[in-house]
């Protein structure tokens, strides 16, 4: 830990209760600050606008979930934050990523390697690819310990066993001598978590950590991550496509669509009153696990936008049931929900001209239902979105 400013010193201690009242600490209290990040790929067929002006901040001890479908840019964004995507002849990057006062986006590979694994750790989707198949589990854990913490071989070994135990692996003494293929998927993911935690990082980046796992194991791993996160006071950036898994496991959610953040809010607030029609539609599209079956699911028409030629105006307008003429021409900025009549004071912003739950929205919906289609020409029926 190296607090740089008085504010930063204050932040960790108040992390738990003061999570939602973080406005004043925007610059100094944040552990990770991402500002106006753009990533563009120049391809034979044109420019892919993968990430467009994403800004985020993550405080010490906070869990921020980035949710998006394929093509939303969440993977590219995460890789940019990790420094795995750098500018080159055909990759254009801009914006800054700051971690605890260090500007990661300006570091070279050597500088990054000092931060990576030590202060920021990574858990990826497929544990089989992040583990070396020809090395024993023990060696893979001790490697980072010896490198970053300058431990002796014996100490590192003892610490490895201890780490494996702390991530809930049975018989850790036996596991250190095994190879990755001898473990099941869930156990492998536990090992990658143990490796990630080996140097007590302050920030954990988890990119779809449970997508490759079964439901029952998924719950175990998510609980483990949550438990370790609160016990060690780590901040966590949880990237996922599944809104459901972050419902009870994040403090704040940022929803991405077509390379942009379209809504960000504290988790409870987002679920209670989503403002962005896309967020609302995403929630309704998930089949419910209570109530009657054979329910007609609310459908988001069309498909994710083509990032080579994103739609003008609001990126969601071609699929949005509320779309009006304005949505097709003018892209909405990130707006603050506190300005809405029924908006709460919490940090909640969205990117929509006709936010859900407002009279404007109800009016837009009425207009669209009346003419049978949105301004973008998408058919609308009366029962499309449940109230």
């Amino acid at each position: 830990m190296r607090p740089t400013t008085p504010q930063a010193e204050k932040a960790p201690t108040t992390a738990a209760p003061g999570r939602h009242a973080r406005r004043e600490g925007f610059e100094d209290g944040a552990l990770l600050t991402v500002e106006d990040v753009h990533v563009r790929f120049h391809t034979r067929n044109g420019v892919v606008h993968a990430v467009e002006g994403v800004s985020l901040e993550l405080s010490e001890g906070e869990v921020l979930a980035v949710v998006g479908e394929s093509g939303s840019g969440k993977t590219v964004f995460t890789r940019r934050v990790m420094g795995l995507i750098a500018g080159s002849r055909d990759t254009e990057v801009s914006g800054t990523v700051t971690f605890d006062g260090i500007t990661l986006s300006e570091l070279d590979a050597k500088g990054l390697s000092k931060v990576w694994g030590k202060e920021i750790a990574l858990v990826l989707q497929d544990p089989m690819t992040s583990l070396n198949p020809v090395k024993r589990i023990g060696a893979q854990i001790t490697e980072t310990l010896i490198l970053h913490q300058k431990l002796s071989k014996q100490d590192a070994n003892a610490r490895a066993i201890e780490l494996l135990r702390s991530v809930g692996l049975s018989e850790p003494e036996r596991r250190v001598r095994q190879y990755p293929h001898e473990l099941s998927g869930g156990m492998r993911q536990r090992v990658t978590i143990a490796i990630a935690l080996s140097c007590s990082p302050r920030l954990l980046l988890a990119d779809e950590p449970t997508t490759a796992l079964d439901v029952t194991v998924q719950a175990q791993i998510l609980d483990l991550l949550g438990d370790l996160q609160s016990r060690l006071g780590m901040a966590m950036l949880l990237v996922t496509h599944d809104l459901r898994v972050v419902r009870s496991r994040s403090d704040r959610i940022a929803v991405m669509y077509a390379g942009r953040i379209v809504e960000t809010a504290p988790t409870k607030d987002l679920f209670d009153s989503p403002r962005m029609p896309y967020t609302e539609a995403l929630m309704n599209a998930v089949p419910p696990i209570t109530g009657p079956n054979h329910v007609r699911l609310a459908v988001i028409p069309g498909r994710p936008p083509d990032l080579l030629a994103p739609p003008k105006g609001c990126r969601f307008s071609p699929r949005c049931p509320y779309a009006q003429d304005r949505c097709l021409t003018e892209e909405p900025p990130l707006r603050d929900a506190a300005d809405l009549p029924d908006g709460s004071a919490v940090e909640h912003s969205y990117r929509c001209w006709y936010p859900v739950g407002t009279p404007e929205n109800a009016e837009a919906r009425r207009v669209n239902v009346e003419r049978g289609e949105t301004a973008a020409g998408t058919p609308v029926t009366g029962e499309m979105v449940p109230a």
Binding site: F41, H42, T43, R44, N45, V48, A50, S70, G71, S72, G73, K74, T75, V76, R79, G83, L84, I85, A86, G87, S88, R89, D90, T91, E92, V93, S94, S105, E106, L107, D108, A109, K110, L112, R303, P304, P305, D306, L307, L308, A309
Partner: protein
């Protein structure tokens, strides 16, 4: 990025991250960009490769050379050439003259004419042997890969035996028993190439058969032969063809070597290998008799290899995007 304010930093990062780039880019392509492809069919390929693959000059040069050789070989009888088999006693060991552009050989036959007629033999051997080997090997490989079981084991055994047999000995045996002729040479080379084509085709078939469209075809009642021909073959043809193209170059060289040893096409039919062999006794005094056909063979094989290798790569990139 001319307008990026951080040009200096990004270039240093670029160097640092260059090793990871390819892997990451392709991952992104599959993970995030696949579903946003436009309906026009344009595929958001890996950006790095897309830029690098601006067609180089050599590509056109290689095609030009191949086209020149093939066209002149096909239309040789129509060209105003000397008869390649008739000696001109004024042209024995002849140098470059307005009558004989590339001089004459040990018997005074016209070199240019013999190179062009020799191209017919060389290309015929290369193309026919490969075509025969690819068709036989391709079909056997698909059968082995689709049916598995005993069929596959028997074919694997045959493949291993043929591959273990020294190729030169086989050719010598064929020539010794059946006599040296163009057909026998083609058959011999085709036999040698069949095992490799079986392996390639079988491996591709194994991968393709795993894909669900083959399962679906079985599920709606397609018979095996139809599945192999309609579903599998179109996916096996491309890799086999790309490999076959490279094999043409190899076989041209093999034909040259065999003719050099006297096992190839019997004289007086001109062939490149035979021409090189014919000039070898006068190599010091009259090097052009051997060196000109050698240079032509070298350039032809180089062009074929270059074109083959490059189309294989292009094909692979496209395949990975499917």
């Amino acid at each position: 990025m001319p307008d990026s304010p951080k040009t200096t930093t990004t270039t240093s990062l670029e160097k640092a991250a260059v090793t990871d780039r390819d892997a990451i880019d392709s991952e992104i392509t599959s993970a995030d960009l696949d579903l946003v492809e436009p309906i026009t069919g344009a595929t958001a390929t890996e950006p790095a490769k897309a830029r690098r693959s601006r067609t180089p000059f050599g590509w056109y040069l290689a095609w030009f050379w191949i086209a020149a050789i093939v066209i002149s070989a096909i239309f040789a009888p129509l060209l105003p050439l000397w008869d390649p088999a008739v000696p001109d006693y004024n042209n024995v060991f002849g140098g470059i003259t307005p009558q004989h552009w590339l001089g004459g050989d040990t018997l005074g036959r016209d070199n240019l004419s013999r190179i062009i007629y020799g191209a017919r033999a060389s290309l015929l051997v290369g193309l026919c042997a490969v075509l025969l080997g690819a068709i036989v090997g391709g079909i056997l490989g698909m059968v082995a890969g689709y049916f598995r079981g005993r069929t596959e084991r028997v074919l694997a055994l045959i493949t291993d035996v043929v591959l273990a047999f020294p190729g030169l000995v086989l050719i010598i045996a064929i020539v010794a028993i059946l006599g040296a002729s163009l057909t026998n040479l083609i058959v011999g080379l085709a036999i040698l190439s069949v095992p490799t084509f079986i392996r390639l085709s079988r491996a591709t078939t194994l991968v393709v058969t795993q894909r669900e469209f083959v399962q679906a075809a079985r599920a709606y009642g397609c018979r095996p032969m139809r599945i192999i021909l309609r579903e599998i073959a179109p996916n096996v043809v491309m890799p086999v063809a790309a490999y076959g193209f490279i094999m043409v170059g190899v076989f041209i060289v093999v034909e040259g070597s065999l003719s050099f040893l006297g096992l190839g096409i019997p004289p007086p039919t001109p062939s490149w290998g035979g021409m090189i062999a014919g000039g070898r006794t006068q190599l010091i005094e009259y090097p052009h008799i051997s060196l000109i056909p050698a240079a032509v063979m070298f350039l032809t094989v180089l062009s074929i290899n270059y074109v083959g290798e490059r189309s294989r790569k292009l094909f692979e990139v496209r395949e990975s995007n499917l």
